[in-house]
Subunit: 404 residues, 2 copies
C-alpha cells in the first residue's frame, strides 16, 4: 500500500480524490499496489463529505508521518506550497503538483532535492492540464531532438480568441462571457496578459531542450489589444489569431522563446484548436510535426494528470525517473535579434510607401475598413522590422506576429 497526502481540497484536490475513488481498481492495478489517501490537508472543514474522515488542518501531521510516501500539492500559489513541497522532498517523500507557478519558479531546486533523495518531483498537470505532454517529452520522444514547441497553453484566452473570431465581439464582451461561464477569474490578469502561458512554455522548454528557462526571461504579450477589426483581417487572410507560447532551439546553444498573439494559418494543426481546448505542437528532428490536444484545465482532466503522476511515483518509490531536465540556465536570443514575419495595420500611408520601406509585401484589405490597409512582411529580424516601420510616416494601428 502506498499512502498519499493531498494538500488542498479545492477544485483539483477534490478531483484527485474523485479520480482515485472512481477508477481505484484500474489505478491500483497499474500502480502495482493500493493507493490510499491517508490525509487531505485544508484549512476548511467539509461536514458531510467523506473526506472529513481524513482531513487535517496542520501540515506537521503529514510532514512527520513516515507512512506518507507521496505528497500531492494542489493548493496553487507559491506559499505555503513551496515550503510544504520542499519539506516533503527533504523528508524523502515524492511529490507531484499541478502548480505551474511553483515549478516555473522553484523547479530547479526541487528537482535537485528529488534527485539527491532518489525520489520524484513530477508535474504533468502543470502544463496543458490533462494532456500528457510532459510524459511525451520525458519518455516518448526519446529518439528525437526537439527543436520547437508551440502551444495554445491557456484555455481562457483561447476561448476568448475563438469567440472574438467567430462572433466578432469586443474583448470586454467576451471577457465578461468567459467570467460568467467560470472560464475566467474575477481578476483575469494572469490569463489575458499571458503570464500563465509564459510559465507553461518556460517549463515545457526546460524539459524539451535540457536547460532551465527562467520564465522571467520570456518576452510576454497578452491579448488585451486584440480587436474585432484584427479578426476581420485574419478572416480575410484565411487565418485566425491565437495566443501562443512558443520556443525554438536554433543551434547548439541558441534559443528563442516568447508568448504573444499570433496569426495562425490553416495549414497549422493549431488553427482548429478552438474553445477552451489546449494543444501543444512539437517538432522533432526525426519525428517531424506532432501535436497533443486536450482539455487544458478543468477539475477531472487536471486531476487525471495528477493521478497519473501518483501512479508513476508509486511504481518508482525510491528511484528517480530520468528526465532531460538540467539546472544549467538557458540563455535566450534577445527579442530584437529574433526573426519572424509581421502583420501590420497602417493608416495615412500608401501601399507604395509601405513597399518602399519594406520591399515586396502581402497586402490585405478589409472592405469595412476603407481608411486603412494591412500587410505581412517577409521574414526579418525584429530590429529590422522596427527600423523599417519607424520610417513609415503613417499611423501603425496594430502589429501581430505571424506563425510560420
Amino acid at each position: 500500500m502506498v499512502n498519499i497526502a493531498v494538500l488542498g481540497y479545492g477544485t483539483v484536490g477534490s478531483g484527485v480524490v474523485e479520480v482515485i475513488n472512481t477508477n481505484h481498481e484500474s489505478i491500483n492495478k497499474r500502480a502495482g499496489q493500493e493507493i490510499n489517501i491517508k490525509y487531505v490537508l485544508d484549512l476548511r472543514d467539509f461536514p458531510g463529505d467523506p473526506v472529513q474522515e481524513v482531513l487535517v488542518h496542520d501540515y506537521e501531521i503529514i510532514a512527520n508521518d513516515p507512512e506518507v510516501d507521496i505528497v500531492v500539492e494542489v493548493m496553487g500559489g507559491i506559499e505555503p506550497a513551496y515550503t510544504f513541497v520542499k519539506r516533503a522532498l527533504e523528508a524523502g517523500k515524492s511529490v507531484c503538483t499541478s502548480n505551474k507557478a511553483l515549478v516555473a519558479k522553484h523547479g530547479p531546486e526541487l528537482m535537485e532535492i528529488a534527485k539527491e533523495k532518489n525520489i520524484n518531483f513530477l508535474f504533468e498537470a502543470s502544463c496543458g492540464g490533462g494532456i500528457p505532454i510532459i510524459r511525451a517529452l520525458n519518455g516518448s520522444l526519446t529518439a528525437d531532438e526537439v527543436d520547437e514547441i508551440t502551444g495554445i497553453l491557456n484555455g481562457t484566452t483561447n476561448y476568448m480568441m475563438y469567440k472574438m473570431a467567430t462572433e466578432g465581439s469586443d474583448f470586454d464582451v467576451v471577457l465578461k462571457e468567459a467570467q460568467q461561464k467560470g472560464y475566467a477569474e474575477a481578476d483575469p490578469t494572469a490569463d489575458v496578459e499571458g503570464y500563465d502561458a509564459c510559465r507553461k512554455i518556460a517549463i515545457l522548454s526546460s524539459l524539451a531542450y535540457g536547460k532551465f528557462l527562467n520564465y522571467e526571461d520570456v518576452y510576454t504579450e497578452g491579448i488585451t489589444k486584440i480587436t474585432p477589426e484584427d479578426m476581420l483581417y485574419a478572416e480575410e487572410l484565411g487565418m485566425t489569431i491565437k495566443l501562443l507560447g512558443t520556443s525554438r532551439k536554433l543551434g547548439e546553444d541558441t534559443f528563442t522563446a516568447l508568448v504573444a498573439p499570433f496569426l495562425v494559418g490553416q495549414k497549422s494543426p493549431l488553427y482548429s484548436v478552438n474553445d477552451v481546448f489546449n494543444a501543444v505542437f512539437v517538432h522533432g528532428n526525426m519525428l517531424g510535426d506532432a501535436m497533443f490536444y486536450g482539455s487544458g484545465a478543468g477539475k477531472l482532466p487536471t486531476a487525471s494528470a495528477v493521478v497519473a503522476d501518483v501512479v508513476d511515483e508509486a511504481k518508482n518509490l525510491h528511484e528517480n525517473i530520468a528526465t532531460n531536465w538540467s539546472n544549467e540556465p538557458m540563455k535566450l536570443t534577445p527579442m530584437d535579434e529574433t526573426e519572424g514575419r509581421f502583420f501590420v495595420r497602417v493608416k495615412g500611408v500608401t501601399e507604395a510607401q509601405a513597399e518602399a520601406a519594406f520591399g515586396k509585401l502581402q497586402i490585405v484589405k478589409v472592405a469595412s475598413l476603407p481608411d486603412e490597409f494591412g500587410f505581412i512582411t517577409e521574414c526579418m529580424k525584429q530590429k529590422e522590422y522596427k527600423e523599417k516601420i519607424s520610417k513609415l510616416n503613417g499611423e501603425v494601428i496594430a502589429m501581430i506576429r505571424v506563425k510560420d
Copy 2:
C-alpha cells in the same frame, strides 16, 4: 553498451540506422548507455553504404549471438518476421517492431513469451507511425479508463479523402496521384479497403481496454465507394468524409469496433486532420477528449518511434514493462446491434416517404444533383436502419455513417 540487430534495411530499417547515428548522443544519454548497431540483416548487399560493415545475410548469426540484447524487426509481413521475432524472444532478446500485421496476428503469443522471459516486446511504430499513442495508452493515461478510441490511422486514404474533398476529383484520379507521390503502393488494397486501419484499431483497442481484439472480428469497409458526389453532400453539411477506425467500451464487457468511412463534423478535432497526417482521438472517463496527431508513416517518423522503443528496452533490459495488455479475447457486439446515425442518398422517393419510414430527418440537398436528396437519421441500431431503409421503395445511392 547495448547491442542491437536490425532486421531489414528497407525504408524503416535504414531510417532506424539514420536516427541512431544522427541523435546518438541524446539517445545514449536517455538510454543510460551506448546503443550499438551490431548487425543489420538483409538479403541484399549495399556496396558503398557504411551499413555494409555490419550487414549479415543469415539470421542464425544474430539469433546465436548472446551479445545481441535487442532485435529490431522492420521487415514487415508475417513470415519470416514471425519466426525471427519468436526465436529472438525465446532466446531472451527484447524485440521492437513496426509490423502491425505481426502484432495484430501474433501479439498475444509474443507478449506472453516476453512476459515469461522478463523482457519486452514493444510496437509503438505499428500504429500511427511516429505518434506516441501506444506509450500514451500504456504509461500516460494511467488514471483513466479509456472508453473510446477513434483514429485516422492510414495516411494514404486520408490523403485521398482530403484531395477528393478539396479538389472534387474521382477516386481513381486521386489514387493515381497518391501512387505517383509514393503515398500509395502499386497494389493499394490494404490501404483503400481499410485492412491496414483494421489491424491498427485492433491493436490500439487491445491496449486500451485490456482484452485482445482479433482484427478478423472487426467489420471493415474501405473508401472505394466514396464519390465526388458524396463529398458535395459533406460540404453542404459542413462536414467532411474520413476513413476512421473506431472502438468503444460501452459496458464492463460490451465493446464495439469498426473501420469505415464516416462523415465528420467541424466540432471533432479529427475534422481538420488533413493530407497524409494521422491522428488518434481518445476519450477517458476522467480526462475527457484528447487527441494525438502526427506523421502516420514515413521513414524517419516511423524510425523515431522504433528507436524510442529501443531506448525503453535498453533502460529495462531484464524487466518486463507493465502494460494493460491481456490475452483474454474481446467479444464485440454484433454490427446489427450497434448504434449510430446514418447519412443516406436516395432517388425515386419523396422526403415525405423517407420521413414516413424514419421519422423526423435532417434533409440535405445539393443543387447540382436535382434528382436525389440526402438525409441523416436519428441515432438507431443498424438493424433498425436496415429494416427502415428496406421499406423505402426508391434507390439507395449511398450510405455513410456519421461520427458523433
